[in-house]
Every structure is written in structure tokens, then in C-alpha cells.
């Protein structure tokens, strides 16, 4: 490559590099610094260096533990349910008349801004006037105070996340199924595999790489859960449905103004996310995908 050409190439990527340095790397470094201080925007004279005190506090803080715990619970329950449902849905809809329209309609829950979706569910879960309790009453069941009891509130959030993101998993698997190499499937059928056996021994192993990518994308996203919590339970009752991000928001910005502690919570979340994103990047096989390396 000519030196001049190289210079132009660099000039063209420079705006993006500057953007990411200024708007993410700099704030992240700044946050690592504030996480080591007692910065409190509501108090004058704060911002002294206090070492790892904020980090140590996280381990002793029951609210931090329960918020991280609920976030992990979302990951452990919602993500597998979404993958199983998404897988089931792909097989259900595949081959039906109008499957393209069904796919388009299923896009809607994941596209609608989470704040709007959360608002819709808040109406559905309403104790006195909500359709959900009305449906329960048709089966002779007592109305449930969805946001009033810890287990029900947690279940309610799980359901919203599953509603919002099962379509995403479905879309990926549905497309992947259509891209499966036909000759291998046909060879399996010739060998007498069909139904369950075809799925378990031939299709599932072929789907495995894409399932891993989907799993990671979902885990990375669920760790950020915030909007639907804010719109529905506001972390309650107590702190039963407070998530990692929501708690960091509450102590850091909303009423605590405890920037130092909120920063420490976010730094740990960021580190966990970076580790997962790195794993994902390896799975995506970027070099080949984008034609950056010779195959």
C-alpha cells in the first residue's frame, strides 16, 4: 500500500476512533477514578480518594447482593426459557401458510421501545382492572397482587423479559434453520432419521454455534436490564426486583447521589460485560465474516 493511501485510510477511520475514545473510553477511565473516591454531588467537599472502600462495601451491602442476585436469576431463568421457546416457535411456525407475516408480527415486541412495552404490561398486571387478573378470575382463581409480593413481582419481570426477547431468539433460530445445509439433512432422512432423532442428532449439532452466539447476546443484554424495571415495579416490593443497573442508578444518581459507590457497581458490571463481549467476538469469527482475513 502506498504511504499516501495508508494516510487516507487512517483519516477515514479517525472520526470513529475519536468518537469511541471520547465517549466511551474516557468516561470509563473517569468512572474507574470516581469509583475510588467518595464523590457525592449533593455534598460539597467530597471526592477524596478512599481506595477500594466502595468495592469492599459492595460485598457487605445486602441490597447490592440482592440486586446482583436478581440479575443473575434473570439470566439463569429467562435466557434458557427464551432459547427453548424460540427454538420451539421456529419449528412450530416453519412451513405454515403465512409464516413470513407471522415472523414480521413477532418482530414487534422486541422493536417497541422497552419503556412503552413496560407501560403496556403495567396496565395488564394491574390488580383491580388488569386483564391478567380478569383472565385468572375466569378460571376461578383469586386476583394476584403482581407487584405487591416478591415472588410474583419477580415472576412478572421474568414474563416481560421473555415476552420481549423470545422473538429475538426465534428470529435467529428460524433463519438459521433455513440456512442448514440441505444435503446433510437429506442424508439423515435417507438413513431413517426423522422427527426427534433428526432434530437431536443432526439439526441441533448444526445449530449449536449459532445457539452459543444467541446465548451470549442474550446474557450480555439481560445483565443491563433497566427500562422495564423502572416502568413497572421500580425495583419493588422492597428490593425484590431491583437489578444491577437499577441499583447503580438508584444509589448513584436517583436519590443517593453517591457517585463513588454507583461507579464501583458499574465498574464491576462493565468488567463482566467486557469478558462476555470478548468471548462473543471470538465466536463471531469476525475476520472471516467481514472478509478481513483470507479464508
Amino acid at each position: 500500500m502506498h504511504r499516501n493511501q495508508k494516510k487516507v485510510a487512517l483519516m477515514l477511520v479517525l472520526p470513529a476512533i475519536v468518537l469511541f475514545l471520547v465517549m466511551t473510553i474516557y468516561p470509563f477511565v473517569y468512572m474507574i477514578y470516581t469509583s475510588l473516591t467518595n464523590l457525592d454531588l449533593s455534598k460539597v467537599g467530597t471526592g477524596q480518594f478512599i481506595g477500594l472502600k466502595n468495592y469492599i462495601e459492595i460485598f457487605q451491602d445486602p441490597l447490592a447482593r440482592s440486586s446482583i442476585g436478581f440479575t443473575v436469576m434473570l439470566v439463569v431463568i429467562a435466557v434458557p426459557v427464551e432459547i427453548l421457546l424460540g427454538l420451539g416457535l421456529s419449528y412450530l411456525i416453519r412451513g405454515l401458510v403465512g409464516e413470513k407475516i407471522m415472523r414480521s408480527l413477532l418482530l414487534i415486541p422486541m422493536m417497541v421501545p422497552a419503556a412503552v412495552g413496560g407501560f403496556g404490561w403495567k396496565m395488564l398486571y394491574n390488580f383491580m382492572f388488569g386483564p391478567i387478573n380478569y383472565f385468572l378470575s375466569l378460571f376461578g382463581l383469586q386476583p394476584i397482587a403482581w407487584f405487591g409480593q416478591s415472588n410474583y413481582a419477580q415472576l412478572a419481570i421474568l414474563i416481560i423479559d421473555i415476552w420481549q426477547w423470545t422473538p429475538f431468539v426465534f428470529l435467529i433460530i428460524y433463519a438459521a434453520l433455513q440456512a442448514l445445509p440441505k444435503d446433510i439433512i437429506d442424508a439423515g432422512k435417507v438413513d431413517g432419521a426423522n422427527g426427534w432423532r433428526l432434530f437431536l442428532h443432526i439439526e441441533l449439532p448444526l445449530l449449536r454455534p449459532i445457539l452459543y452466539v444467541t446465548l451470549l447476546l442474550r446474557v450480555i443484554d439481560v445483565l443491563k436490564t433497566f427500562d422495564i424495571i423502572y416502568m413497572t415495579t421500580y425495583g419493588g416490593p422492597g428490593s425484590a426486583t431491583s437489578t444491577w443497573s437499577f441499583y447503580a442508578y438508584k444509589v448513584g444518581v436517583s436519590y443517593g447521589w453517591n457517585i463513588g459507590y454507583g461507579s464501583a457497581l458499574s465498574v464491576i458490571l462493565l468488567i463482566v460485560s467486557i469478558l462476555l463481549v470478548n468471548t462473543l467476538m471470538k465466536l463471531l469469527n469476525l475476520g472471516k465474516e467481514l472478509g478481513l482475513v483470507k479464508e
Binding site: 412495552g117 458499574s266 475476520g287
Partner: protein, 283 residues
């Protein structure tokens, strides 16, 4: 009926049932937006309004708290903020991303490392930028401005667009450009007159995706703005919903305005959208 046909029918009914469940929350917002006041709160709930009224949009529905404020007239400043912020983010991010993606596609500059770094910027948790940006912006007096949201929104939008556009540029054969050089065009000229028109669908898809993401963003908007001068629609919804009993009709009307552009764009551009959102896992 053969066993096969029965199975098909069962599958069909199950699929319709699933669709109804998944679309019900959206349906509920939609019909509530048009319900007259006595039907907002009723038991049994009203599944089809006795008449469709526009009162919720006009702010004349009732005197319940929030009725006039969430009317169309009341949300105009927030609607304006959302439009300005999402449109600016969309245009600027597509421009920055097009330059970078073109360079990477043609020269492989930075290799897998740089491309991976760019793309990973889209996946990091927003709370991790929101807290430091809150402190930084409050120091440089940038809170409550359009720029306070446009700047951070550029990050995921640009990252995603770079990804989408690299594969678009890859599909434009380099020979076409070389032909332009031979005809005496400069690199810049060939980019503007040859590459850009050919990649117009890709650029449009990137711009729409950036628009949709910025339009619905919640956390950063919640933290970095707090009044009508820059606050966007989703946060405006959030502000009213924390109340004990909110005016469902007008709030649904505002919710409908918030989600309608996104649904329309999403359905039109679904192919590119799926490719972008799944990071290329789906072509």
C-alpha cells in the same frame, strides 16, 4: 381427515395462539389509546372500545391527573426532542460509520482487532457510561441539552452501522471503482459518484437502525436530561407512570405516538434490521 392434516391444523392453532399472546400488550396500548374515560378502568376490562374517541390525544378526555399533560399538545416539546435527537444521531453516525467502514472494507486497516473493537462498543452496559457522563456533563454544563444525548447515542449507532456497512461495501466490487480511476476520477470522486449510490440501501438501513435505537433509548435520557428542553418521549412516559393511578387513556395515546414510528420503520426495513440486531448471525 388425514393424520397429517390434523397435525397441521393443531400447529396452526398453536401458532395463532402464541401470536395473540405476544401481540396482546401492544394491542392493549392501542385500544386503550382510543377508549373513552369510563372504559380505562373497568372490571371486566373493555377489550373493544364502545366507541373510538380521539379525546385522549386531544387532552379533552377527562380531568384525571395527566390527561392534558400527556395529550398530543402536551407532548409536543418531547416529541420534538425525540425527532431532533434521533434524526441527528442517525445522520451523523451513518456519516462517521460510512467513512470508517469504507476504509476497513477497502484497505483492511486495523484488521480484526480494530473492527472487533468498534463493534463491541455497541454491547457495553449503558449505565457504565451514564454515571460518568452525568458527572462530566454537569461540569461542562451540557446536561439537559440535545447534544448531551446525541453524543452518547452516537456510540452504539456508529458501532452497529460500521458492522452493517463493512459487509455492504464488501459486496461492491472493487473493479467498478478501478474503472472510475482509469476514467480519471480521484478516490474521493469515485467514492461519491460510484460507491455511495451503490450502497444507498445499506446507508438507509444503517440510518434507520440508528434512528430506532436512539428513539427508544431510556436510561441515558433519564439520567442526562430532566426537563422539556431535551427530554425524550420514553422518559416522558416513565415520568407519569410512577404515579399511583395514572390516566391510562392519554398515557396510552402518548405511548402509541412513541411506538408507532418504530413499528413502521421496523416492518419496512426488517431484513436489514434483523441482520444488524443479530450482529450478522442472521443474513
Amino acid at each position: 381427515m388425514s393424520k397429517r392434516k390434523i397435525l397441521y391444523l393443531v400447529k396452526y392453532i398453536a401458532a395463532i395462539f402464541v401470536l395473540v399472546i405476544f401481540l396482546f400488550p401492544i394491542y392493549w396500548i392501542f385500544i386503550t389509546a382510543f377508549k373513552p374515560e369510563p372504559e380505562w378502568f373497568s372490571m371486566p376490562p373493555v377489550f373493544w372500545p364502545s366507541k373510538f374517541t380521539l379525546a385522549n390525544f386531544l387532552g379533552t378526555g377527562s380531568s384525571t391527573f395527566g390527561t392534558t399533560t400527556t395529550s398530543i399538545a402536551g407532548i409536543v416539546p418531547f416529541l420534538r426532542n425525540s425527532v431532533v435527537i434521533a434524526t441527528s444521531t442517525s445522520l451523523i453516525s451513518t456519516f462517521i460509520a460510512a467513512l470508517a467502514a469504507y476504509s476497513i472494507s477497502r484497505t483492511k486497516i486495523g484488521g480484526t482487532g480494530l473492527a472487533g473493537w468498534f463493534i463491541s462498543m455497541r454491547l457495553l452496559p449503558p449505565i457504565a457510561s451514564a454515571i460518568p457522563l452525568y458527572v462530566i456533563f454537569s461540569k461542562i454544563k451540557l446536561l439537559n441539552t440535545w447534544l448531551a444525548l446525541i453524543l452518547p447515542y452516537l456510540v452504539p449507532a456508529t458501532a452497529l452501522s460500521i458492522w452493517l456497512l463493512i459487509s455492504f461495501f464488501n459486496e461492491i466490487p472493487q473493479e467498478i471503482e478501478e474503472a472510475a480511476y482509469i476514467d480519471g476520477a480521484s478516490r474521493m470522486q469515485s467514492f461519491i459518484h460510484v460507491v455511495l449510490p451503490l450502497s444507498a440501501p445499506g446507508l438507509a438501513a444503517a440510518a434507520i437502525l440508528a434512528f430506532i435505537q436512539s428513539w427508544g433509548e431510556f436510561l441515558l435520557a433519564l439520567i442526562l436530561t430532566n426537563n422539556a428542553s431535551a427530554q425524550t418521549l420514553p422518559v416522558y412516559l416513565g415520568r407519569y407512570i410512577t404515579g399511583w393511578r395514572v390516566a391510562w387513556g392519554p398515557l396510552s395515546a402518548a405511548g402509541l405516538v412513541t411506538m408507532l414510528p418504530v413499528i413502521i420503520f421496523a416492518l419496512i426495513f426488517q431484513r436489514y434490521l434483523i441482520r444488524g440486531l443479530t450482529l450478522g448471525a442472521v443474513k
